[in-house]
Amino acid sequence: MEEYIISLEDLKKLADNLIKEGTDLFLPSPDNSRFVRLKKADELKLAPEARPSDISAKQAAFPKCDPVLFYKRDKSTVELKDAEPSANQVLFGLKPCDAAAFGIMNKVFNWDYKDNFFNKRLENTLVIGLACTYSDDYCFCTSVGLSPVSETGSDIFLVRLSDAQFAARAVTDKGIQFVKKYSQLFAKGDSSKSKPALESIKGPARKFDSKKVKDWLDKNFETDFFNPVGDTCLGCGQCAFVCPTCHCFDIVDEDYSYSEGRRMKNWDACQFSLFTLHASGHNPRDNQAKRYRQRVNHKFKYYIDRFKEILCTGCGRCSRGCPVTIDIGSIVTKIGNLT
């Protein structure tokens, strides 16, 4: 793999060029709550030691509210206009647990019918990943097939060598083309530079065997294991909204005048009590324990059955943000120990 060296100054120059060209740059906000647009290049900061932003980067390809078509009613006729997702964006400094999520979601959005809203955005997004030196009690990327240094999902992968210098690896064709385009900013390097930096990254302490978790879930659908967490869970759905891989959505019409409106794809969450409620009043998941069972099964069993991927990158956001301190990592660790 091609490896380069780029200074923070040159990264800022790169950002400046991109902004001037009209590319949207996104990176974690200074308070690390969400991804925000970078307006001035000299505000660019890359912080491998920061915790994952409270809200993941998934909006880049799967926005919270996404118009899919516009309609106009006139007496008894209706006129439809397609919504065209426009994206020309670079995501800066994504944690490996954020970058990997796009490829995981890509499976469900393309396994049969193709969701081109997701596809077109992803196509027009360049992901610049960043080796992560943060870890806390909630992180568990190494238990779900990733690591703080995995390049999965990144087009270009940065490793901090010093405060002012980064190693840059061109991971995908898109990344290689990008580096070529701005070659004056990238100096040739080699892996001897990044190797010691990568080796010094320890990764999270928490470890569980995701295969054992799946083995247990395969055999234990009817279980009272989820009753205690069902009693605790408020069903607020924050876990799904901050998650980089949760992709459930609702389809909703929004009128913005008497005759016009748009049809939206809006985020939804399996923890909401109305999520599966039938028109008849029947609800297949009629209590929170069943809804939590769905969440764990979808991530650690169903998605693997269907798409051969764990629907989780171990970022720990759902646990860090949970208002009643439910920690999915400790729950699946417990499950892993049951077999």
Partner: protein
């Protein structure tokens, strides 16, 4: 860019009130091109929408052998079905589909067929019944057993009469005890009881059962007693859906997407699914 969420536009050609709260719409594609391109199989479903109100999921109630109209029947229960009821002949609705799998009509050729339906569960079954009747020679004995809570709740009354008048179809119509009127000439009793009484033969037979879960639950043991094989009892599941495309993530039962792997399932398939429907 191909947009999988974009519906066809359809015009309401005719409105038929089935019961006090159940209505059938006869729909026609606004565009000739869409009409030519469109095809479906009995048992498939679609997302119907009123622009400004949203989408809802019903089966296609008409058969693929009658393509002049697409028909859907719905009960007035929520936001979109209420909005659908406010529409008039000539109005436009959105239609996305067809989605999901279908009844194995081709595999049913040369077999005896037993249709069992309760309430509005007759809608998906009607699509197959009419499909089979339009190709009558390809199938052997046909039995239709249909029940509703009361005489007023029977849907497709004109067709029930038609089927009852056919010499090569056995049609049994029943209402729940207490749901009869003084001039009611049909059976009185719950569907499982009437199925047992009618005792359709299970040799070389396939059965299609649709209706409320409670009806299906009590009809299945009767079918087993009559000797039907689990793989020859076919039903549909009606989980809540939004996209119909295997993406939005709410219709799943275990790792099965009802919208893609269903809605048609055999009893032998159902038996191994987790109890989450």
């Amino acid at each position: 860019m191909e947009n999988i969420y974009k519906p066809y536009l359809m015009e309401i050609k005719e409105i038929i009130d089935e019961t006090v709260d159940t209505r059938t719409l006869r729909l026609q594609f606004r565009s000739e091109e869409d009409k030519k391109r469109f095809s479906f199989k009995a048992g498939q479903f679609a997302e119907y929408s009123v622009f400004g109100e949203g989408e809802c999921t019903f089966c296609i109630a008409s058969p693929p052998t009658r393509m002049d109209f697409i028909e859907c029947s719905f009960k007035q229960v929520g936001k979109v079905t209420n909005a659908l009821r406010r529409l008039n002949v000539g109005d436009t609705i959105g239609f996305r589909g067809p989605y999901g799998n279908w009844f194995p009509v081709e595999e049913m050729k040369g077999k005896n067929i037993v249709f069992i339906a309760g309430g509005i569960g007759l809608a998906p079954v009607r699509s197959v019944i009419l499909n089979v009747l339009d190709r009558r020679k390809e199938f052997k004995d046909i039995t239709i057993i249909y029940g509703a809570r009361s005489v007023g709740d029977l849907v497709y009354k004109r067709e029930l009469r038609e089927w009852q008048g056919m010499s090569d179809v056995r049609t049994v119509v029943t209402v729940d005890p207490g749901g009869e009127t003084p001039d009611w000439k049909g059976e009185i009793g719950f569907v499982p009881t009437i199925v047992e009484k009618a005792a359709p033969k299970s040799d070389n037979a396939v059965s299609i059962i649709c209706g409320p879960p409670i009806m299906i639950k009590f009809t299945l043991p009767v079918m087993m007693k009559l000797g039907f094989k689990e793989e020859n009892i076919i039903t549909t599941l009606e989980n809540r859906m939004k996209c119909g495309l295997g993406k939005c993530g709410r219709c799943n039962i275990g790792n099965i997407y009802v919208c893609k792997d269903g809605p048609v399932f055999s009893y032998s398939q159902l038996k191994v699914l987790p109890q989450e429907y």
